[in-house]
Every structure is written in C-alpha cells, then in structure tokens.
C-alpha cells in the first residue's frame, strides 16, 4: 500500500501487440475513477515515472525467449499478485502459431542468413515460466471485464471469470446462431466473458479466451465436420489462439499412452 492507502499496481509487456494495455487506457474513458482507487507505479507504454514497489503486476504478452524469463521471475518475486493480461500472457495466443513450423525454418524465413542474430524460442504463456494468480482472458481483453476484475481484486475477491461457454452469452443477446446462418463457430467450447462480441458482429468465435474447463471436444469436432469442415479446417480453427494448449493436450495424451 502506498501512503495514501491506494494499492500500487504495475503493467508489464512481453511479446504482444500491446492492445490489452491500450484497452486498459481506454477503460479510463468510461471509468476515470479507477485512478482514484489505485496508484499506477509502472506502465512504460503510457508513463515515464517508474516505481518498483508494486503489489499487483499485470503482465501482457507471451514469453518467447529465454532471456525474458529472468525479468518475469523478478516481477513474480516483487508482486503479491500476478495477473496474466490477455490471451498472449494467458494462453500463448497467436504467438504460438510459430510452433506449427520448425523453429529454425521460421527464423530463416524472416531473418534469412542473419537468423542467429535474434534470440527466440516457442512462445509460451507466462504460467509456463512463473506461477500466475489470475488471468483476464481475451484478445484483446474486454474493457468491462477488466474493470470488474480490478474491482474484485481491490475487494480481495477472485476476479469473476465465467466458466461457461460463449453460447450462453450469445443466446442472452438473442443472436441468430451462426450455425443456422451457414457459418461455423467455436462458441460451444470457448470460455464466455466477452459478451459474445464476435458472433454478434457476424464472425465465428475463434476461442481467443481459451476453452471452458470441460469442453465437449469430440462433439464440437463432429458438429464442425457436419457443417462441411475438413479435419484440416477444424485444426486451423482450433489452433489460431490455442496452439499451445492443443499441443500440450496432445503431448499429455501421448504420455498417458492414449
């Protein structure tokens, strides 16, 4: 706590587009009172002032190189609470698409014979490097959900992240189901909390918030197949933001001999 009793919070970024931090800045448009209840001591994208005595650390971005691990560990050591902010930090996100190709080949494709100049490894969620207390999912995070999570943390409560599928919110919005409009969607297996924004705007849910705890995967795949998707296309949908999780699951299945 600072002298004025406001908890000190800090924002950090690793491999990402920094869109989640921009969403944080945007949340001030509708919730300027946030600045009265917390003290931001570090937020490189928006401020020069810098303090190291933060209580809560919000981390955006995946870890994509070994040399970033020390910085993550230092943040963990300081912060009482570490929050993964957005899909890259929470799940690996689009950064983990890199893992679908051999790493050396990816490096040469972009940096040719100078590939050795630039350090990289397969993208991972920050939880693969340090313990994480909470995650605010989404690519990008939902502004209202972020505000609700900050309020919960200030009250010493667990952030209210739903564990039911996007379909629930989509139905509450009275949207016409995309499957009945000749489209496909990952809403049945994806964690809600985004107010079903993609289906509402006519696009398939792409599972940017990750899967619910017990998704009915085989049913989901059957439904996608019934709607004309090839195995290849289903894999594509399943890997856009969640390559890391899909691979982990495959590896676990292999290890258990299934």
């Amino acid at each position: 706590m600072s002298q004025n009793q406001k908890p000190k919070i800090a924002f950090f970024d690793f491999t990402s587009c920094e869109g989640c931090q921009l969403t944080v800045v945007d949340s001030l448009q509708t919730h300027p009172e946030l600045l009265q209840v917390v003290e931001i001591v570090q937020f490189r994208e928006a401020m020069t002032e810098r303090g190291e005595d933060y209580l809560v650390a919000f981390i955006e971005g995946s870890c994509t190189r070994e040399s970033d691990e020390a910085r993550l560990k230092a943040i963990r050591q300081q912060a009482a609470v570490v929050v993964a902010l957005g899909t890259c930090a929470h799940l690996g996100g689009v950064n983990s698409l890199k893992a679908l190709h051999p790493l050396d080949e990816v490096r040469r494709y972009v940096y040719a014979d100078r590939a050795d100049w630039y350090e990289t490894y397969d993208a991972r969620p920050i939880e693969a490097v340090i313990p994480v207390d909470f995650a605010i999912p989404g690519c990008p995070i939902d502004r209202n959900e972020f505000v609700a999570c900050v309020k919960a943390l200030l009250l010493g409560k667990k952030p209210p992240i739903p564990d039911y599928p996007v379909c629930v919110e989509c139905k509450l919005k009275e949207n016409t189901c995309l499957f009945t409009r000749g489209k496909v969607c990952l809403g049945p297996v994806t964690r809600a909390g985004c107010d079903a924004i993609c289906p509402t705007y006519g696009q398939s849910c792409e599972a940017c918030r990750g899967f619910i705890t017990n998704p009915n995967d085989s049913s989901m795949r059957d439904v996608l197949a019934q709607h004309g998707l090839s195995v290849d296309q289903v894999t594509s949908m399943y890997t856009m933001f969640t390559t890391y999780q899909v691979r982990e699951k495959l590896m676990q299945a292999e290890a258990s001999g299934r």
Partner: protein, 428 residues
C-alpha cells in the same frame, strides 16, 4: 570529457527500444536506436493459414493500428483473389480507418507527447493539473473508438471486416448519432490545434526523402500509388524499389533506404506530399500551426498529426453523409473470382505506409507473406536525425540531451512491436 546517454526502454512509445549515444571530447562517437523488442515472426506464421484468417491474425501485429493492418491484409487478399469490393464496403472501411487515425493521433499528441512539454512524466499528473485537457483527449478518443466499433465491432481488434466486405452493418441511427458527435467534436479539435500551436516545438531541420501513398481523388489512406518528395512515383506492387530492407545487428527490426541514406514515412510525409488534398479546415489548421510544405522539422510530425485529426473528423462527417444518402444495405461479401494468386495491399496507417504482400495457393492457404511496417522505414531516418541533432545540443547538460533525444524518438510515434516481424527477403 565524455558523456554517455543510455535510455533503456524508451517510455511512452509502443514497444521496446533503447537510445545509445556516446560522446567523447566533444565528438559524437556512437549514436544508435536499438530495437530490442522480441522478434515476432508473423510472416512465417501466416503460411499454411486460410486466407480468411489473415486479417484476424495480422491485426494482432499491433494494438494501435489493428484496423490498418486488417484493412491492408484484406486488400492484399482481394487483389490476389480478383475481388472488387462494393462502394459501400469502400466507404465503411474509410470510416473505420478515420476512427483509427483519430484514436492513434489523439493518443500520441495528448498522452505520449504533451507530457514532455508540460514537464511531467505522463498524462496521469495532468489529470489533476490540467483536467480539461485530459478529459478532452479521453472524449475524442472515445468518439474515435466508437466510430470503429460501429463499423467493425471494436477498434482493437476489428471483427466485422472480412475479405470482400463486412459481416455486420451499422444502423442509420448509429451513424446519425456519430455524425452529431463528430460535429460537436469540432470545439475539441479546435482546442487541439490551439494546444499544438502553443507548444514550443524544438528547432531542428533535416531534409530527407518523404514517402507516402498518393491518390488522384483524395488524401490517400487506403490504396493508391507510392510517391516520394524526391520525385519517384511507383505502383504499390513495386514497393521493394523504395523499401530496400536491410538488417543491422542492433535491431530486430529491419532498416530501409531509397535515394538517400534514409527516408521518412508518416503524417509529416503525407502532409508534405498530399497537403493540397486536405479538407479546407485542415489546411486552415496547418496555417495556424505554421506548417507550409515541405516541412523538414521532424518534431513537427506531431503537429502534422494534429492537422490530420481535423481532416479525419471532417472527412468522416462527409463519409457518413454519403452512407446515409445511399442507405446501408446488408450485403454478402464479394466472393473470389479465382483461387490462388499474389496480391499487394497498401495503406497509410497512423505511422506511415504499410504494405502486406501475400501469396495464396489454390487451396486458399497462404504460401508466403511479406509485411513492410512504417516504423521500420523510419528507424534509419531517426538515427540520421540523432546524428544531426546531437552535435547541435552538445552544450546542454546530459539530462537535457537525453530528454531531447527521447522527444525526437517520440516524434516518430514509433510502433516497435509492429516493426519486428519484418519481411523475408526473397519471394517463395
């Protein structure tokens, strides 16, 4: 006597960059801008993905210019697949594009640059010392975001934009209310120009080659030809003649040069090349700010952004009028006329010219991609500016030199996480 300026992770810019300047016995020995952002490899990751995903993946290159990346990506796909979008699609894209330019420029002028002039480290102390300025910025930013949201669901990352058209359409009532807010916003826009006119912009001149898109019919943001202030004019498909990317070890972003040692893209380049096509109110704002092309003071890139704020507000009103007059028709996206091919998309995103070049196979999956990012094109010019500026300010205390250099970096409004997944060198 020797001085060393080492700014680790410059603040109030997008992404991670370091300023390294070494001065010994009054001579500049070392002068670099290190891009230390993690490499991101988007071009490699796009391969094997269906073309329909490309705009959704590449909008994730950048949270600030997500709509710009998405639009450029859609144009690349549409050119590769022989798709001609409808007039309504063109207007809706233009509207959300204006929203993004406004959002990004307001963020840069008010939250990233203004604190330097007001002697504070961020916009946060300004919330208590200059609340009306901060509230004005937040008001304008909200309007910009709402403009994007009405068209494509949200600014970061747009949802309803798709190859060949849109999957959602704004209602006339939404557009009418946005039009009203844009008109009401003129007072805030005027106050922005007044604020910029009152700021003591650093004196600095260094002429360079200013590169932008240009169009015969309007101030170019989407599509057009490449034009440079040194007289080169090229179709966008020949972008490599201008960009000439090369690698340097201190940067995970590639560098570019054309006819001189470096080139500059962004609001100042657009203003210098296309000012005649600005809205009359934007031209008046340029006069109020003392900007007469060609402007060669890099610090005034931010002032040129303020001029574009005026232009985008006025042009957005005109675009809404056109849409309301035509009426909004929910229409299916235009389908491809062929499957497979090569296409180049180009847009003027907030920080300058952005190019996406895709190769799409007959199965509809990308086989290759090349993205040329504005910030990459500016880094060599930034270093050229640093080499010119440092000898002129050597007499100042180290802290002041450091601040001047940080302000110079910020003038470019660099978008560093964008810049580091840069192009492959050869076509597949």
């Amino acid at each position: 006597m020797s001085t060393r300026i080492d700014v680790h992770h410059v603040t109030r810019v997008e992404g991670h960059g370091n300023i390294v300047v070494g001065i010994a016995n009054g001579k500049l020995e070392e002068c670099r801008f290190d891009v230390v952002e993690t490499p991101r490899f988007f071009e490699a990751m796009l391969r094997g993905r269906p073309y329909q995903e490309a705009s959704h993946i590449t909008s994730r290159i950048c949270g600030i210019c997500a709509t710009g990346h998405a639009t450029t990506s859609l144009r690349a796909c549409e050119k590769a697949l022989g798709i001609l979008p409808s007039d309504q699609t063109v207007l809706l894209r233009k509207l959300s594009f204006h929203g993004e330019i406004l959002d990004s420029h307001v963020l840069h002028v008010y939250m990233l640059v203004a604190p330097d002039f007001l002697g504070v480290g961020s916009v946060i102390p300004l919330a208590s010392s200059h609340p009306e300025v901060v509230l004005r910025a937040l008001r304008m930013k909200k309007l910009a975001g709402d403009l994007c949201a009405a068209v494509s669901g949200r600014h970061t990352h747009p949802i309803a934009m798709t190859v060949g058209g849109f999957t959602h359409f704004p209602k006339p009532g939404e557009l009418e209310s946005l039009r009203k807010r844009l008109e009401d916003c003129r007072a805030d826009v005027d106050a922005t120009i007044e604020l910029c006119a009152s700021l003591p912009w650093p004196q600095f001149e260094r002429d360079t080659e200013y590169v932008s898109l240009t169009r015969p019919d309007e101030y170019a943001f989407i599509d057009g030809e490449i034009v440079t202030s040194d007289g080169t004019r090229l179709p966008i498909e020949d972008y490599r003649q201008v960009t000439n990317e090369y690698l340097v070890q201190h940067s995970s972003a590639k560098f570019t040069r054309h006819q001189r040692e470096s080139l500059m893209v962004g609001a100042l380049a657009r203003f210098n090349n296309n000012h005649a096509q600005l809205h009359p109110r934007a031209k008046a704002a340029a006069v109020a700010l003392g900007l007469t092309p060609k402007v060669t003071n890099t610090f005034l890139n931010t002032a040129a952004q303020a001029v574009e704020i005026v232009h985008c507000v006025e042009d957005a009103i005109q675009v809404i009028d056109q849409l309301l007059e035509r009426g909004i028709t929910p229409e299916e996206p235009v389908p491809p006329t062929k499957m497979g091919g090569e296409g180049v998309g180009a847009c003027e995103v907030p920080r300058g010219i952005l190019i996406h070049h895709y190769w799409i196979g007959e199965d509809g999956k990308l086989t290759g991609a090349n993205c040329i990012i504005p910030t990459n094109q500016n880094i060599a010019n930034l270093e050229g500016d640093m080499r010119t500026l440092v000898p002129q300010i050597l007499h100042k205390p180290a802290e002041k030199i450091r601040l001047d250099l940080e302000m110079l970096v910020r003038a470019y409004d660099p978008c560093i996480s964008c810049s580091v997944h840069v192009a492959k060198l050869e076509r597949p």
